[in-house]
Symmetry: C2
Subunit: 371 residues, 2 copies
């Protein structure tokens, strides 16, 4: 079942070493011999045994991705499949495989990292779903393996990060709503122990306060549809309810739209809705969901590229920044209800928001109060 390098060597009438040199495009064989060897290798259908290669070169030709999430939440997240597909486009070219671990039981996550690292199963890791105080950073620094993090963790980290500024998308969303005339804009936030849950909340709050609006309409969730519904009902049930809601992900936004309609209000007539992710279904709902589009596939590509570079040329690399997340305006956002349809005159504070149309916001982040 295995044609080995020795078989090729015998066929070509050379030594194992010569075949190895030839196949790896290294000097030490003449061009004539190289092509003869390659010919025989192809003829015999030779493909090198990865285990053997790994053992002698002490590289695993694999990278690890450990996902620790409730399977239910995972199943509704459009991010990972596209992200993994992006990783794959690069890894496949480099003949590197992706070792995926989904950790559901508590403690399984840490064990998974250790297992992959200590066993020499992978050459590096992609670290996603970063948490605010993330003990995985220390854990992985201990292993000495290269790592690329998705966004920069709050704490110290010696690993390169591939950054997507989700701030811009949320800011654009809020400013889009403000431009439509909304003043009571709520946020259904994600878990605050995740940095992207937190950064989206911060972006919402900063944009609100920068425009002189009160950032009081927040509900923190677990990113799940159920708590999205609960948060929606809670916010709409308040004394001075929102006329628009910015959700931290599309799943909650979709469930939220449904809950809003069920409560007798219309989207966008009574309440405007903005999601985050641009899930494939978002454009096929009625009204279409206005949402913030990220490019998880390109994110995956870039992450894989940085990780491969870290594996080959040393783990100390600078961060890479992607194009910021951008707003996709669809039907779920419209001017708020009420007497003055387009309240353009009652702009509260100073600093004109100007046109925040469908994104391409290439400016630096908006002015942050204090900090």
């Amino acid at each position: 079942m295995g044609v080995t390098i020795a078989d090729v060597a015998r066929a070509a009438g050379v030594s194992k070493g010569a075949v190895s040199y030839a196949l790896n495009n290294r000097p030490g064989v003449s061009e004539a011999t190289r092509s003869r060897i390659l010919h025989h290798a192809h003829e015999l259908g030779f493909s090198p045994n990865v285990q053997a290669r790994s053992l002698s070169s002490s590289r695993a030709f694999a990278v690890g991705l450990v996902i620790a999430r409730d399977p239910g939440l995972l199943g509704s997240d459009p991010f990972f499949p596209a992200f993994i597909a992006g990783l794959e486009t690069v890894l496949a070219d480099e003949d590197v495989t992706l070792v995926l671990t989904v950790a559901t039981r508590p403690g399984a996550e840490e064990r998974a990292y250790r297992r992959l690292a200590d066993g020499g199963r992978v050459d590096g890791f992609v670290l996603s779903d970063l948490r605010c105080t993330d003990n995985r950073i220390a854990l992985l620094e201990e292993t000495g393996l290269p790592v690329v993090t998705l966004n920069r963790p709050d704490g110290p980290s010696s690993f390169p990060a591939v950054l997507v500024d989700d701030t811009a998308g949320v800011r654009d969303a809020v400013e889009h709503l403000i431009a439509l005339g909304h003043r009571r804009i709520g946020h259904v936030a994600g878990p605050q122990d995740l940095i992207h849950g937190r950064s989206r909340l911060r972006a919402w709050r900063d944009t609100m306060t920068a425009h002189g609006l009160e950032a009081d309409l927040v509900a923190v969730t677990d990113f799940g549809a159920g708590s999205g519904v609960a948060a929606t009902e809670e916010l709409l049930g308040r004394g001075d309810p929102p006329t628009a809601l910015v959700y931290a992900n599309d799943v909650m936004a979709i469930a939220g739209m449904s809950a809003i309609a069920a409560g007798g209000r219309s989207v966008p007539g009574d309440v405007s809705v903005v999601g985050y992710d641009d899930a494939p279904i978002a454009g096929h709902l009625t009204p279409g969901l206005t949402t913030v589009a990220t490019s998880p596939m390109r994110w995956g590509e870039l992450t894989a590229r940085v990780l491969m570079r870290a594996i080959e040329h040393g783990p100390r690399l600078p961060d890479v920044t992607m194009a910021p997340a951008s707003l996709v305006v669809r039907g779920s956002t419209a001017p708020p209800p009420g007497p003055t349809a387009h309240s353009r005159l009652t702009a509260p504070s100073s600093t004109a928001p100007s046109s925040s149309r469908s994104s391409s916001s290439s400016r630096s982040s908006s002015s942050t109060a204090r900090e």
Copy 2:
């Protein structure tokens, strides 16, 4: 960075071989020596290098899963994450890793299988998304590696299959609608080159004809939200439109519900809707989506178990059948509109449908006309 078996041997004052025997619970060492060796191994933090183990034992300690799908479709499918989580629970215990490949570009799928198989990177494969004439079967039979298929392919296959009878779920759904009084029940089908797209369509058609109803309201889609909307509009626009629609997955059902509402009809007042998958969001919509629940996580567990058995004890194993998919009744199904609310008298043909409540249908498949 690596404490090897030789280090442990030296510490324990024995030979490499003895350590190997001790660690693998094989005879050849006394109980006293074994525990001494284990003690030292633990002390030194030894963990065996998988590459070396693989090379000498010619096992990869990894299994492969290749997914060939459009990333967009993948992203909205709740199946895979849960399925993979299920695989993982078993694989992690066996210290086997999952090598995941997402093939997006054409031809990448076949190359992925070959790469994993020929390189000796995996000990076996999980074959999902079976197609009607699936050339992967022959491809993998050629490699000689153990394989487990998700459901039994149409063509010849020497591999064991782990079966979920989605027929039962669709039949229950249709009978549930019939019991509610529906007669015009449409089906938004999945791609007909996928066996589960085809089997759901067949289950719908068989159940319809078994009840003397005409199975004319079908639209075939690609499982995507967009074509779900298009199919919905097409079916509702026909001369004698359906009062209920059975969708081949939840994504299309959700987009469909939205399209139905956008067309001025209510769910379930005017049109009842049934999905398939029981996506996490399904229960959090309003109305809740009546759908067919599968257990992808348990499916994954069982699949991994069968695959491991095939790897260890030979690839020829009998098929394993899981509990059939079951109907979860929520708010999106109700009696059809019209003069006679509960038309119980006008039961068309013979064979009483009886009570098709919320599942647990353990009977064999319903009577199939002809075949």
